[in-house]
Every structure is written in structure tokens, then in C-alpha cells.
């Protein structure tokens, strides 16, 4: 864009301004570089992400991989009906949302707190070491992590029971994994353990963008450490927190399946099964792609509704928006 193009005055108002068709074209013609920088990539996104959506037709068929599109048998909403009429589906929906919410709240809170506190460490080497160590569990597979979790929670000299008994909180070991009421919490805690360091990285990066002069100004105003954290650091990363939160809201039906599958058992199954496990069992494992696709469409509808709703709410409160 050439300098001097009159309408390139970026301001909040520009966005809200109602524009006539001619000024739109005029603006467009002044944005050739921006278009060159973005439209080819948009084309790419269409090819790789949108074009394959024709596959959603499977949800309305009894899809058989061996048949061509024209030979598939169309069954209308059969698979959606199966999903929504099954008693267990409501149950797995509840579990999925429950665990997602716990994971999200715990995940956000712990990562943000950890990032802010880590930022307060001034000793460089110490800070770097802690940061490096904290993200290590991210590289362990769930099967390893759940193995350690299960052993720690064992009644058979598991560390958790041993500690609680020594500290006098309980008199006899608790069978953590056979109590439905603990299951969501255990899953949430496992997530925090595995991902807190990894999730904090993004906030650490955001903290670096905070203008140092803001801290200086706060100091001059007599702010103490906590006040600086609260009134400078936290607002400094607020926009990324809100954006990530909105994005994550869209994944509320993705509570995963590995942890729940590996830690779950028949005794807690009513509280441990998620949508993904359900789909795996009754869809993919028995070659029912159609059911899996139907569940996928359902999840997408929920996701998109949620992010647009959240986006609107953020807009109303004058916060940063995803879109």
C-alpha cells in the first residue's frame, strides 16, 4: 500500500463506519498487498479444510468404504436419531461437558498463576530450569501418565493414600478410582499435572510483550508486587486469555478419550465415558463411519454456536474478540 493513500488511517472508528459500495471498492484497491498476503492462503484453507466436508454426507448414509458415492445407501437422520435416543448419549454428554469445564477452569487458572509467579522469579537460571522441567510431562503419552496416576492412587501402598494416612486425614486407604465422585477431579488433576507447564508457555510469551514502562509507572504510584501482578501483568495478558478462553469454549465437547479410557473401569463407567469413547465404541470400532460423522457434525454445531455466542458476549463487554 502506498503511503499517502488517504483512507488508511487505522482507528477503531474505521471499522464501525458504514461505508458505501464505492468506498469499499476504493478501500479494496488500496489493500492489494494485504490481499496478496492473505487470499492465496485462504484458497489453501478452502482446499484442505472445506473441500473435504463433502464427507459429511456420510452421516446421512450407511457408508461403506467400498462403494462409490452414487452407490451409497441414504438413511436420512437415522444416525442422529440413534445418537440422541440412546440413554447413554445424554450421560456421556454430561460427562464430557463436566470434565471439559473442570479441565478448562483448572487448566486456565493453574497455567496463568504459574506463568505470573514464574515471571516473578528473577534468578535467570532458576527460572529457565523450572520452566523447562515443568513442561516435560507434556511429552509423555497418556498411557505412561495414567499408569503413574493409577499407581499413585492404589490402595496398595499408593503414594496418595500413604501420604494422607501419615498426615492423619484418613484412617484407611481410599479406592480413588472406584468412586464415581472423584473421577472428574482425578482427570482434571491429571491434565493439570501433564499440561500446566506447556500451557503456561503462551502466557509467558504474552507477558514479555508488556511494556516495561507500565511497571515503572505503577511503582512510582506506590504499587506493591501483588498490585503490579494484579494491575499490570494480568491486564497485560488479558486479551490472550480471553481469546484462548473463547477458542477453548468451542472444544467443550472434546474432553478426549485416552485418559478416561485408561483410568476408567466398569465401576465408574457412568461418570467416565465421554462422547469420544462412545463414538469409538459404537462407531469406529465396528466400522460405523456414519455414526462417527454424525457425532462430529453435532459437535461442530455446538462448537460454532458456542464461540459465536461467547464472541458476542465479549463484544458486548468491550473485551477482545476472537472474530
Amino acid at each position: 500500500m502506498m503511503a499517502g493513500t488517504p483512507e488508511v488511517i487505522p482507528s477503531k472508528k474505521a471499522e464501525a463506519k458504514v461505508e458505501s459500495k464505492s468506498s469499499f471498492v476504493k478501500r479494496m484497491s488500496g489493500q492489494k498487498q494485504l490481499m496478496l498476503m492473505s487470499l492465496p492462503i485462504l484458497l489453501y484453507v478452502f482446499v484442505f479444510s472445506y473441500y473435504p466436508i463433502w464427507g459429511w454426507t456420510m452421516a446421512f448414509q450407511n457408508y461403506k468404504p467400498a462403494r462409490s458415492f452414487g452407490q451409497q445407501e441414504w438413511v436420512g437422520l437415522k444416525h442422529f436419531k440413534f445418537l440422541f435416543s440412546d440413554d447413554t448419549f445424554l450421560m456421556v454428554l454430561r460427562n464430557t461437558i463436566g470434565m471439559s469445564v473442570i479441565n478448562m477452569v483448572l487448566g486456565f487458572a493453574t497455567a496463568i498463576i504459574f506463568a505470573i509467579l514464574l515471571n516473578e522469579i528473577k534468578q535467570k537460571l532458576f527460572k529457565r530450569s523450572i520452566q523447562t522441567i515443568s513442561y516435560l510431562p507434556h511429552f509423555l503419552s497418556w498411557i505412561i501418565v495414567t499408569g503413574i496416576v493409577a499407581n499413585s492412587l492404589s490402595v496398595d501402598s499408593g503414594i496418595v493414600n500413604v501420604l494422607l494416612m501419615k498426615l492423619g486425614f484418613i484412617n484407611e486407604p481410599i479406592m480413588w478410582l472406584s468412586e464415581p465422585k472423584y473421577f472428574w477431579g482425578i482427570v482434571g488433576a491429571s491434565h493439570v499435572w501433564k499440561e500446566v507447564g506447556w500451557n503456561a508457555i503462551i502466557y509467558l510469551a504474552a507477558i514479555t510483550s508488556i511494556d516495561p514502562s507500565l511497571y515503572e509507572a505503577a511503582e512510582i504510584d506506590g504499587a506493591n508486587r501483588y498490585q503490579k501482578m494484579l494491575f499490570v501483568t494480568l491486564p497485560g495478558i488479558k486479551s490472550i486469555v480471553i481469546i484462548l478462553f473463547i477458542m477453548n469454549l468451542g472444544w467443550i465437547l472434546d474432553a478426549g478419550f485416552e485418559v478416561q479410557y485408561l483410568l476408567g473401569n466398569g465401576v465408574v463407567v457412568d461418570w467416565s465415558q465421554t462422547i469420544d469413547i462412545f463414538v469409538l465404541k459404537y462407531g469406529l470400532q465396528i466400522g460405523n463411519y456414519s455414526l462417527a460423522t454424525a457425532a462430529g457434525i453435532f459437535k461442530t454445531v455446538v462448537s460454532i454456536t458456542l464461540i459465536f455466542a461467547a464472541n458476542t458476549i465479549a463484544k458486548r463487554f468491550g473485551e477482545d474478540r476472537l472474530i
Binding site: 477503531k12 492473505s38 459429511w56 508457555i201 514479555t208 510483550s209 464461540i307
Partner: protein, 300 residues
């Protein structure tokens, strides 16, 4: 009273905070050390349980088993190549797009944002994606590792959000100096975005490094294109199989010491082998987002 708290506070805070960090370090280091210990412990002893921080019966057999096939050396370089290439390309394209949609005056800002963001929330499924890859002649082609995942909506939004926190004046002043958007992007935005770019680079690189599913689906019949993770997955699944084989088979050679290497011990060794390269590279990225660069230095 107020002054006294102010003076006492740093010491107390620092001590407690450091202690807290040490606790976090211990808790998060444990699973990794435990995995390391298991990887160095004889497989059939690990089955007994009770391995915590140190191996009980030392062995290098698990690692020998990992390196035995000899295929993982070539696969390692394929992994390196795909990781480096994809990370560089993805970083460039994603941040370019992020810059474009960060420009409030850009007419297509909103539609592009919506179109890209939506991709995070749907999945066309295995089979349509497979057809696409096949029709683009990417099957058994090295480019299948690079091309399909170039743009991540998540990363794009993260970068965009970061760009938006930069002082608007910087960009305006560049424009006034006669720079077009592309030049502004290259010479102003990219340098300023180092912390977030390092973060996103880490995300992309780790994703690339750990990927094996694309090899499984799209390049499994060409050994030359096999990646480290795929070779390790092979090893893990075959160790599970041979473990049960040895037991099931009536024809197996009886008596001899079986199962010195078990799936559990192989998995541990694999985990260590796979994450080591990342640990080595990590500090180079880390300095960007842990210490941060002084924003001021780039500013003027």
C-alpha cells in the same frame, strides 16, 4: 505499617514463591525421571512394579532394542527435515495471514477470520481427507508432511492477538515512512513478534516432531519416508505383539528367558529417545519467551 509490609514482603514472597516453584519442579520432573528409570531397568523386573527414581536391575537392553532395526537413523533425518521445513514455512505463512487480519482497515478481515477460525471446529473425517491427499498426488510423497498442516487457525489467532497488543504507532510510523504492508510485516512485525513466534514455532515443531498418523495413513508403504515417531510406534506395537506371541504360541521355544524387553520398558525407552532432541533444541527457543526481549530495544 504499610512501609513495613513493603520491606518484609519481597523476602517472604521470594522464599515462598521459590519453594512453590521447587515443588512444581519436583512434581513435574517425577514422571519423566520415572520413565527414565524404567527405560534403564530390565523389562521383566519392571513388571513387578515399584520402580520409582532409580532402576533396580540396570540394563541397556531397552535402548538396544530401539536401535536394533537400524531403520531409525534414516527416519530421524526425515523427521528433522519435516520439522524444520514445516516449521519455517508454517511460521511465515501463518504470521503473514495473522498480520493481514490484524489490520483493522482490511476489508476482508472479518470474513477471513471467520473462515479460518471455523476450521478449528470441524473435521471432515479420515476418508475424505485421504481422497484429497490422493488426488493431489501427495501419497507416498515427502510433501504430505509439509503441505496439509501449514496453516493452523489456533496459531494464527495467537499471533494476531499478540500483534494487536503492539503499539499501533509503530505500524503507522512505518507507513508514513512509505513502507507497504509486506515490508511493514517483514521489517517491523516479525522482529517485534519474536516471543510469540518462538512460542508458535515450538507448537508447530513439537506437533511435527511427534506426528506419526500422517505417515501411517499416507506414506506407510514407503520406508524411505518413514519418520522417527512412526518407527518408534512400529517398535512399540511389535513389542506388544511379540510379548503376547511368546506367551501364546505353543511352538515358541520353551524355557529360555523371555520378555527381557516388555512393552512397558520399550515404551519408556521410546519416550526418552523421542523427547531428547526436543529437549536439546528447547533452550534456543526458550530464551525468547522466558526472558523476553526488551521491547524497547526494538522499538526505536
Amino acid at each position: 505499617m504499610r512501609t513495613r509490609t513493603l520491606k518484609m514482603e519481597p523476602v517472604v514472597f521470594h522464599t515462598l514463591n521459590s519453594l512453590f516453584m521447587i515443588v512444581i519442579a519436583i512434581v513435574t520432573l517425577y514422571p519423566f525421571l520415572n520413565t527414565l528409570a524404567i527405560s534403564l531397568n530390565a523389562g521383566n523386573d519392571t513388571i513387578r512394579g515399584g520402580i520409582y527414581l532409580l532402576p533396580r536391575v540396570w540394563t541397556d537392553q531397552n535402548y538396544r532394542a530401539v536401535f536394533a532395526g537400524g531403520t531409525i537413523y534414516h527416519a530421524f533425518w526425515i523427521s528433522v527435515a519435516r520439522t524444520v521445513l514445516a516449521t519455517v514455512l508454517s511460521l511465515f505463512l501463518t504470521s503473514m495471514l495473522a498480520y493481514a487480519i490484524s489490520r483493522k482497515e482490511y476489508v476482508f478481515r472479518k470474513p477471513i477470520t471467520i473462515v479460518v477460525v471455523m476450521t478449528m471446529y470441524f473435521n471432515a473425517g479420515l476418508i475424505p481427507s485421504y481422497f484429497l491427499i490422493r488426488d493431489l498426488h501427495l501419497l507416498n510423497n515427502f510433501l504430505v508432511y509439509i503441505i496439509p498442516g501449514l496453516i493452523s487457525a489456533f496459531n494464527m489467532i495467537v499471533i494476531r492477538t499478540y500483534i494487536q497488543t503492539l503499539p499501533e504507532g509503530l505500524i503507522e510510523s512505518a507507513k508514513i515512512d512509505g513502507a507497504g504492508d509486506f515490508r511493514t510485516f517483514i521489517s517491523i512485525i516479525l522482529p517485534l513478534c519474536q516471543p510469540v513466534l518462538a512460542t508458535v514455532a515450538l507448537f508447530v515443531a513439537v506437533g511435527q516432531w511427534n506426528a506419526w498418523f500422517d505417515t501411517f495413513l499416507y506414506a506407510s508403504s514407503k520406508q524411505d519416508l518413514s519418520t522417527l515417531q512412526y518407527e518408534l510406534m512400529k517398535l512399540l506395537s511389535s513389542s506388544m505383539l511379540s510379548n503376547s506371541n511368546a506367551a501364546v504360541s505353543s511352538g515358541a521355544d520353551p524355557g529360555a528367558a523371555r520378555n527381557m524387553v516388555t512393552p512397558m520398558s520399550i515404551r519408556a525407552a521410546i519416550t526418552i529417545v523421542a523427547s531428547l532432541p526436543i529437549l536439546v533444541v528447547y533452550p534456543f527457543l526458550q530464551r525468547y519467551f522466558v526472558h523476553g526481549m526488551q521491547l524497547g530495544s526494538v522499538k526505536e
